[in-house]
């Protein structure tokens, strides 16, 4: 029983991170029908920035209030960095291709993904202690254990809940609640949904669709930046390929939940996280990809639009 709950917790924490990344995929897809393949690598770059900042400000040795302020600072800077970079990529790479066939921005996104990955490789070769002194750019970097690795239920308890688990789950829930509030309650959020549903009509309402698209990239990027920091804190190791790996899971989550659907991305992220945890524990880690993608195929066979994909057809 403890084992089930333990895996549930593991699945939830991982799922939250996948959900945060999946939101960036799904929001951009909802508006542009573009799968932004560089999104996972944006997440990776933000985690490299997080490690750099932790090193620069010596947060590895900080504690108490200094550490808390430092962490909030790192989250804010990484979220702003990823938001800005995502926005710049849209303006420079995708925007000139708005009227081009859909394949053009898609292939460009794959290109941006490679550029980012190599930037990560270069970054990993910087002569900083945190990056192993620059000797092995491709090697995984250890991210310092900033939060106390203690069991909140007492060291004798069989079930293990750490401050890191709480941080990931609580902060992700807060961020997602803020996103839902923004999208459902604010004027810009509603304009975003309107633009995703019918861009021509959105223009006819006086909505500056370009600005809405820019805002979407900013928000999706900020979510990835935030996810990068909490994931690095949680998993304590980063490498230049982590964006590709986690991006693939997150993208799968977005498709599973119904790409373009914000609630679907969250649901999909949690489903993927839980599936991973339970299949690793009860079936075997070597079966993980087969089980994940097998589930994806099964769901798409019976619900091609994903779990929460739009089924309400538009009337003519």
């Amino acid at each position: 029983m403890e084992l089930v709950i333990q895996q549930l917790l593991l699945g939830l924490t991982n799922g939250m991170v996948f959900a945060l990344i999946a939101l960036g995929y799904t929001m951009v897809y909802g508006i542009l029908e573009l799968i932004n393949f560089a999104h996972g690598d944006l997440f990776m770059l933000a985690s490299f920035l997080a490690l750099t900042l932790v090193g620069l400000f010596g947060l590895g040795d900080a504690s108490g209030g200094t550490l808390a302020v430092g962490l909030v600072g790192v989250i804010v800077v990484c979220a702003l960095f990823a938001a800005g970079l995502n926005w710049v990529v849209d303006r420079v790479v995708y925007k000139p291709l708005r009227k081009a066939p859909k394949l053009a921005p898609l292939v460009s996104a794959i290109g941006v993904s490679f550029v980012f990955m190599n930037l990560g490789l270069f970054w990993g070769g910087l002569p900083m202690d945190e990056f192993g002194g620059g000797v092995a750019p491709a090697a995984p970097k250890s991210f310092p254990e900033l939060l106390p690795n203690i069991n909140l239920l007492g060291e004798d308890a069989t079930l293990r809940v750490t401050p890191k688990d709480l941080l990931v789950i609580v902060s992700s829930l807060v961020v997602m609640a803020a996103l839902f509030w923004f999208v459902n309650r604010t004027k810009l959020g509603k304009a975003m949904r309107a633009t995703a549903q019918n861009p021509v009509a959105a223009r006819l309402m006086g909505i500056d669709v370009d600005k809405v698209i820019g805002a979407t990239f900013l928000i999706g990027g900020a979510l990835a930046g935030f996810a990068a920091v909490i994931y690095s804190l949680y998993i304590n190791t980063i490498n230049f390929q982590m964006g590709y790996q986690n991006g693939l899971y997150a993208f799968t989550a977005a498709v599973l939940g119904g790409i373009g659907n914000i609630r679907g991305a969250v649901l999909g992220g949690l489903v993927i996280g839980l599936l991973r945890a339970f299949s690793d524990q009860f079936i075997g880690a070597q079966w993980q990809p087969a089980i994940l993608f097998g589930t994806l195929i099964l769901i798409l066979v019976f619900r091609p639009t994903g779990l929460l994909g739009s089924t309400a057809r538009e009337k003519v």
Binding site: R193, N198, R203, L204, G206, S310, A312, K315
Partner: protein, 241 residues
Amino acid sequence: MSEPLLSLSAVHTSYGNIEALHGIDLVVYPGEIVCLIGANGAGKTTTLMSISGCVKTRSGTIRFDGKDITQMPSDRIVRLGLAQSPEGRKIFPRLTVLENLEMGAFIRDDKAGIAADIERVIALFPILGERRHQAGGTLSGGEQQMLAVGRAMMSRPKLLLLDEPSLGLAPLIVLKIFEVIKTLNAEGTTILLVEQNARMALRHSHRGYVLETGAITMADKADVLLADPRVQAAYLGEGDH
């Protein structure tokens, strides 16, 4: 007569290499209801989409309220006071009726005024009030049309473009829509109406234009067009009712 609110001169619009409008000249004066009639594919929708900036014109000029709007982006045109209820309604299927109306008022910031205008739309189309929390996509065709017209009113436009507001609707609802058009006009909104239902459109308009394969072939007072044998033969069908 006063300065026209809207004027198109020699407007050419193409899709790729195919020219859809071969030099349209059209004016709408403040306070008028003007209708544009013509067969399917004559270029009626293209004319409205050119005015709203949704398709780019190849040459010619479009002026609205004293400004050249020929190359202006759609959202800026709306801010000048030119709204459109587009072909096929294009309501936002997963926004509620209220949210659809709010989007119609996107360019405005006066919360109280917007709330009052939502009530006004609901007073004109009570069914929208009953369905206010329903997703737009779940509405019937007629209800969606009412929502599209109501949504276009929400920006308080000086000029309202209506593309086929009667298409596919039951006769009673068509009457209702034209009644609202009359009301809006009486309250000071100028209207340019595109219709296949030529008889209905001409009866409710001051002037009319006949569009044939991308060119204006007739332009006159609505009652003159109604009585014209060529218009009767081509667009009004047999018998008068």
